[in-house]
């Protein structure tokens, strides 16, 4: 479904992603594991087109701070130069890190904004699915999203991505800053998303422990480079992974 070939991304002269190649098959849940500043967000933003958008804006102002090389293909189509909002129309949807929601809009409005591409029935169905997956959100539906807790905002952010109607859902650190209990809720919801929508999912995380058990395939990156790859089970048993990403 998604093929990334020898991707390189520079900020100024700093290399954030280095000759990265990876593949995501339809229906899979794929993990991208890496510690802080390994290049996960840069990778996700490149896939979603946000980096391209940033690059274009910088160029307009006369700067050439960002360089992107390599190829991103979605369902056999080269999307390297496609604007971010058009990629969304193909079903490639990113949920950015640090629970991106519209703080001044209510929970319901957030979901409606996310549903701007879909028909009324589609949006209704996806909104219902979100409230099914995250029953906590139901009682806050008329509350401004800025007043929700971090975990609730993360749930809403995932819900918004679902309302858009993803065929490939990119989740950037969905567990960041959540309590272990909340992490379990989100992990459970992600599993449900796969079951109920059939979406293919890519999760970027630094916490390997809750993520590895649910992924079909994982890529470990360090300093923007691929250091290891394997099935979830293979990575789970790897002693290096254990010492580096499972903590003590």
């Amino acid at each position: 479904m998604l093929t990334v070939t020898e991707l390189m991304v520079f900020y100024e002269n700093a290399l954030a992603v280095n000759e990265l190649s990876l593949k995501v098959e339809t229906g899979q849940v794929v993990g991208v594991i890496g510690s802080n500043s390994a290049g996960k967000t840069t990778l996700m933003n490149t896939l979603s087109g946000l980096i391209l958008d940033q690059q274009i804006k910088e160029k307009r102002k006369g700067g050439e701070r960002i360089t992107i090389m390599g190829k991103v293909e979605f369902e056999g189509r080269d999307i390297s130069l496609m604007p971010a909002y058009e990629r969304v129309r193909l079903g490639l949807v990113l949920c950015r890190e640090r629970h991106p929601v519209f703080p001044d809009s209510t929970v319901l409005e957030n979901l409606l904004i996310a549903g701007h591409l879909g028909s009324k029935e589609q949006v209704k169905r996806a909104t219902d699915l979100t409230f099914d997956l995250f029953p906590n959100l139901v009682r806050w539906r008329r509350r401004k999203a800025g007043f929700l807790s971090g975990g609730e905002q993360q749930m809403l952010a995932i819900g918004m991505a679902l309302v858009v109607g993803p065929r490939l859902l990119l989740l950037d650190e969905p567990l960041l800053g959540l309590s272990p209990a909340m992490q379990q809720v989100v992990v459970g919801a992600i599993k449900n998303v796969r079951r109920q929508t059939g979406a293919t999912i890519v999760i970027a995380e630094q916490f390997a422990r809750p993520v590895l058990p649910m992924i079909d395939h994982g890529y470990v990156i360090e300093n923007g480079m691929l250091t290891m790859t394997g099935t979830g089970a293979q990575l789970m048993d790897n002693p290096e992974i254990k010492s580096a990403y499972f903590g003590v």
Partner: protein, 290 residues
Amino acid sequence: MLTGYLIYGLINSVVLVLVALGFNLTFGISGVANFAFGALYVTAGFLAWIGLNTLSLPYWVSAPLAVLITAVLAGLLYRVVVLRVRGLVVSEVIATFGVGLALLELFRFLGFIGFEYTLPDAGDFGVSVLGVVIDSQRLLIVAMGAALTAFLWLFTRYTTTGRAFRAIAQDEHTALTLGINTERTATIAVAFGAGYAAVAALVILPLGTIAVNEGYNVLVNALAVCIVGGLGSTLGVIVASFLIGMAQTLTAAYLGTHWMMIVSLVAILLILLVRPSGLFGSHKQLEERI
């Protein structure tokens, strides 16, 4: 006497609401500081005048056409000038103010000065409220103020484009990841704001003449209302319009009309000292943006 001042103060407040709504829509919602706003307001007035007098078009053609052309001009201004400097706020302000300045002075250069530049008003009837006679044009202003405010409120809540306005105002990157074409949305917001300015011009300008200097006054007033109310807040626009509008009218009544513009400037200074985010500004937008 006082009743009269109060009623005329209220009407003046509605004038400010009309003038500031469009500016607020563009600045607060698309996040673009359109400092050519006053120039666009005056342009709409002259366009309508040219349509009526030079081209001899009927009012119902000339007025909508003026609104449409003003909106398209603003959209072009955004595409051609602002997009390049988007995000560099000082550059946005300078670029749009520069274009506005050029536009206004062009009108002056072309000789658009004098008492013949007036727009037709709503006719000769009046209504008496608490013993004060309000003419039809001022009644129209109040009705338009209410209608445009209600329309904006409904539009930003119940339409896809309106929701997209609110989305790009809050977080452009997130809007983009939801599939919103943010630059197109921002262009529409700028054009929409200019359309509001044009409608305001068509109902307010018949009270006097279409003068180049109005462009500067309108910008200062719109800026004052938005800064005092808090950028992006429609409720803020309304409350601030009434505070400043009443203050202006009472100042004019007791100190003289030439003190009126001072009120806006003092209001800007006061609010910047006391509460820089404005009365209803939820974020520290102002500090960030100016």
